[in-house]
Amino acid sequence: MNELSLHILDIVQNSIRANASLVQIIVNEQKASNIYTVTIIDNGHGMNAQTLSNVSDPFYTSRKTRKVGMGVSLYKMACELTEGSFTIESEENVGTKVIAAFTNDHIDRAPLGEIEETLCILVLNDKDIDVLYKHTIDTSEYVFDTREVKQVLEGIPLNNYEVIMWIKNNIKDGINTLEEERK
């Protein structure tokens, strides 16, 4: 996986399996402190201390159909390659928080990539999970919130393809605007 947005897509699958109803994805790029943070917070069923201590082991999985679980370990590796820090906090019945802090200008820090594709796929999930995406570059901010979109839609489903295309363009434009402001 060569984009952070692919890792995000992968990690959020765990939130979906944990029956979360809201997933928050927060990307924060700070030039001054040279830190690029990706935080993923869900309100799913969380993990106990035992599971939490095993979660970044690639040979640990809660599934019975296979013996490996690579998602978290690959993400952790991508983070630690940049001399960053990777933490997971979790509480049973409350939720889980995955914080990956990358060294922003490190040569191994993968680009975010096509985050709008990741978010569209999350929105298309059939469990009707709400997604909040917040992207900060220095002091400018872009926020996308499915709860806000649903309010405007008055019952028209999010998986309407015109809505999906609107969401995709909205996110793309929003982030492009942030990038331009930085310049």
Partner: protein, 121 residues
């Protein structure tokens, strides 16, 4: 979020179309979206399905991301469900998506070049 007005227009247009269809009517496309699928290229594949369906206005076709079915070596795996028929495609790329849409979803004939029987029996 900008341009919420455009979203309102989409809503109004959708409200005019009377839709009697339930969630599981028509064709369902499932795309494997676990670690194995994602690293093999499932995201652009799913995205291509969404774009093609939007472009061709195939309103009874739904695309859903799903987990791993345990054949990680031949990902990206796509399943097409029509009534009781289930077709499993593997090693799908964007070119295959175009063929699945035109030959199978629209044409009604599965694309044998990508069906799982070519790789696993």
């Amino acid at each position: 979020m900008k341009s919420l007005d455009d979203l309102k227009k989409i809503r109004e247009a959708a409200q005019q179309k009377v839709s009697m269809r339930g969630k599981n009517d028509g064709t369902r496309i499932l795309v494997g979206m676990a670690t194995c699928g994602i690293s093999a290229g499932a995201r652009p594949v799913m995205n291509k399905f969404v774009e093609e369906i939007a472009k061709r206005e195939l309103n009874t076709v739904t695309v859903t991301p799903v987990g791993c079915i345990g054949e990680c070596a031949i990902e990206p795996i796509v399943e097409v469900l029509q009534g009781d028929d289930r077709t499993t495609y593997c090693k799908v790329d964007e070119k295959a998506v175009e063929r699945i849409i035109t030959e199978h979803i629209i044409g009604g004939k599965p694309v044998t070049d990508y069906v799982i029987g070519k790789y696993r029996l």
